[in-house]
């Protein structure tokens, strides 16, 4: 059977970006379908009945859910080029740990930065910066999180960059001044074709977040 790959996604989703990048790293042809999250398609509800969330990867009719699981799946199915996870078991465990750290900590912290105000936002901003500093420290002097090669943790994190200007705008701070090495890593990742093609314009994301913020923080 020919490889049929469909990605149900939502353009500003930092999670969807992971799957887009992984597919492009492997040179996989796929059909991108934009979901309206206020009016989810029957296909989305059928393919992800438990969480009803994007991204959903549909490979030859079978769904794979959860972005970090999709990235591992893509790496295992299309194993012929650009390995995403390293081959050494210990390095793999480290990569999984940091992707898990990003999922457990970064999402909730960043949400407080744009969706709240006052004391709650200040506390969220502090947490958020702390988490970025931890990641920057883990990166160290390496070109990428895994070392010389672009991989799993880079893919897990890079999408959040498109939301940085929004965070800076609504919480009034500069991310580059807090984590300059991390921003240098961002710039390196952006030079990669799979990343450049998969990330939306941060200005458009800021407009989107601006609208979204109004629902949570009526001015």
């Amino acid at each position: 059977m020919a490889n049929e790959v469909i990605l149900l996604d939502f353009w500003p989703s930092m999670f969807g970006m992971r799957t887009r990048i992984a597919l492009r790293e492997k040179g996989v042809e796929f059909e991108y379908r934009e979901e309206d999250l206020r009016n989810k398609s029957p296909l989305l509800l059928q393919m992800n009945p438990i969480h009803k969330k994007i991204p959903v990867l549909i490979h030859n009719g079978k769904p794979v859910n959860e972005s970090i699981i999709q990235v591992q799946y893509i790496d295992e199915v299309w194993s012929h080029k650009n390995p995403i996870l390293p081959s050494d078991p210990y390095q793999r465990a480290q990569a999984r740990f940091w992707a898990d750290f990003i999922d457990k900590k970064l999402y909730d912290a960043q949400r407080k930065v744009w969706a709240t105000k006052g004391e709650e936002q200040e506390a969220g901003k502090k947490d958020f910066i702390e988490i970025l500093k931890t990641l920057e420290s883990e990166l160290g002097d390496k070109p990428y999180f895994g070392g010389d090669d672009f991989g799993y943790v880079d893919i897990a994190l890079i999408g959040f960059y498109t939301w940085f200007p929004a965070y800076e705008k609504f919480a009034n701070f500069s991310i580059e001044s807090e984590v300059p090495k991390l921003i240098a890593w961002v710039k390196k990742c952006l030079q990669r074709e799979s990343v450049a093609k998969s990330l939306p314009d941060p200005e458009k994301v800021t407009e989107f977040v601006s609208e979204l913020r109004k629902k949570f923080v009526p001015e």
Binding site: I69, Y73, A93, F97
Partner: protein, 227 residues
């Protein structure tokens, strides 16, 4: 095959530590178990897991691996030539196993625990209903994944069996506390039988904690408010 020094930092009562133990037993790996003292964290734990400061931590040739599901995958990969495979071999089956393992930790476990921390009868009833609903999904997942075989992973216990099975002791404690059976032949026929097989497995039986000991520990961890 790696034969270096293997240590596991944990506690006899922890579900997450149990996952690591089962994986080590499946692969017949000898290890030193370092029991943490209840109420405090050892220097080794804090040094080996500075980010989360939590157990379990597997230390293999002085290198720490953290997070129970990551430890289980590590054990499977580092000792891939000994014992049965813990992760399924097909990428799609692996994706499904990972999905349900994440569901168990992020959703199912949270509602199970909320039964023990519930303030008042109404909250408890709501938590019980939620666990019922989520367990129904796991019953269906079992039927889909096992494809008629004894375990989620097929003929032998694997990643998803370990992810859910490690909860069986605590699950029983919650059933007793709530006076409500979740696993039974009418509501969850497949899971009820699977639970018995899992607990009987030679890699599990010697390390499953005693229910009475666990219940006593639960009373310490989740004290009941004075009436």
């Amino acid at each position: 095959m790696a034969t270096e020094d293997v240590k596991l930092i944990g506690s006899w009562a922890s579900v997450f530590v149990m996952r690591a133990k089962i994986a080590l037993h499946l692969k017949s790996i000898s290890y030193e178990f370092l029991q943490e003292t209840f109420g405090s964290k050892s220097e080794l734990l804090l040094k080996s897991n500075p980010v989360h400061k939590k157990m379990p931590v597997l230390i293999h040739a002085d290198k720490p691996v953290c997070e129970s599901n990551i430890i289980v995958q590590y054990i499977d990969e580092a000792w891939n030539s000994s014992g049965p495979s813990i992760l399924p071999s097909h990428p799609y089956d692996r994706a499904i196993a990972r999905f349900w393992a994440a569901y168990i930790d992020d959703q199912w476990f949270i509602s199970l625990r909320s039964i023990l921390t519930a303030q008042g009868e109404e909250e408890k009833k709501a938590s019980i209903a939620q666990v019922e609903e989520r367990t129904e999904l796991l019953e269906k997942a079992f039927n889909d994944c096992s494809k008629g075989k004894p375990f989620f992973n097929g003929d032998h216990i694997g990643y998803l069996d370990i992810a859910l099975g490690s909860f069986l002791g605590w699950w029983r404690v919650v059933e007793l506390d709530a006076n409500h059976k979740f696993l039974d032949e009418t509501k969850t026929p497949s899971l009820a039988k699977w639970a018995e097989r899992f607990c009987d497995d030679p890699a599990v039986k010697p390390i499953m904690p005693e229910i009475t000991k666990l219940a006593e520990f639960a009373r310490k961890l989740f004290p009941k408010p004075q009436a």
